[in-house]
Symmetry: D3
Subunit: 66 residues, 6 copies
Amino acid sequence: MPYVNIKITRDGVTAEQKARLIKGVTDLLVEVLDKNPATSMVVIDEVETDNWGIGGESVTLRRQRG
Amino acid sequence: MPYVNIKITRDGVTAEQKARLIKGVTDLLVEVLDKNPATSMVVIDEVETDNWGIGGESVTLRRQRG
Amino acid sequence: MPYVNIKITRDGVTAEQKARLIKGVTDLLVEVLDKNPATSMVVIDEVETDNWGIGGESVTLRRQRG
Amino acid sequence: MPYVNIKITRDGVTAEQKARLIKGVTDLLVEVLDKNPATSMVVIDEVETDNWGIGGESVTLRRQRG
Amino acid sequence: MPYVNIKITRDGVTAEQKARLIKGVTDLLVEVLDKNPATSMVVIDEVETDNWGIGGESVTLRRQRG
Amino acid sequence: MPYVNIKITRDGVTAEQKARLIKGVTDLLVEVLDKNPATSMVVIDEVETDNWGIGGESVTLRRQRG
């Protein structure tokens, strides 16, 4: 019955990559904790780089600086 | 002062349905816990079906399989 | 497949009250959005009053002030 | 290593305002808790006013009522 | 820079199992999305079974029913 | 009406420090976005170091390694 929320920057992640994340996290929960996959949820949030900060500045600005 | 976050798949939920969710959850908090509705918040997140996984696969794929 | 997170202050909410919240929110999702209750999750987080702020101060301090 | 999530209504907040929020929250974590800014994350979620409820109704409706 | 939040029921998960979850999720983010592990965060929340509902009832009650 | 969630490791943060975080974040929302402090919420979650991972390992292990 686990619930997993993955937050990443919006960077053109494909449906295929999202499917791999969902599968990989679910397999991990089964393997490590013996959870039932049928009730394991994974939700992926894609966040604009202006809206994500690290080190006190947005990812947009960090990338511009290189 | 409760805060409630509802995550659902993005499926054309109408403003009227959202209003019913907000009203219903707030009424429930008042009824069960005697909370003050004036400071009760409800935030609804709509998530693309590619980004929501259950049973190890995305909702998009589950629906395609029928 | 909805996921609902309810955050409330830790104030001696009983298991019976929590059960009513879980039931009430799930019923609402079925009624308003025709969701499948079998895959509807509700998670309740109880938060210490020192850790919850509103109006710029903690709930602990607001209550002391009366 | 803190993680901060700020949820606000989607109201035309500019990249410059977001940058000030990210900087301000990070500085606060450094000042109050002596956290390392390099691993301090801030994620801003902007929420449609139909999807945000307070006092049992959506922000959209509250604003229409004035 | 991803942030992952894993919510599970509080069921005596060991530090070693948590370490495997943290390692597994981080490896997955590197493998699928080429993320930098140094700024990838994983936070595990353990939730009392009274506070987790599925199918309209708490996990505590579901387990009692068997 | 903003909602802010601050996640930090559980490290003996005092009520006074929490009060400063709550006040500081609320002031920032007023200053940058002209938000109403009366309906601005801040919730602080303290997370065990076993449950927080960065760089693929728990904070507990990172600190042991020094």
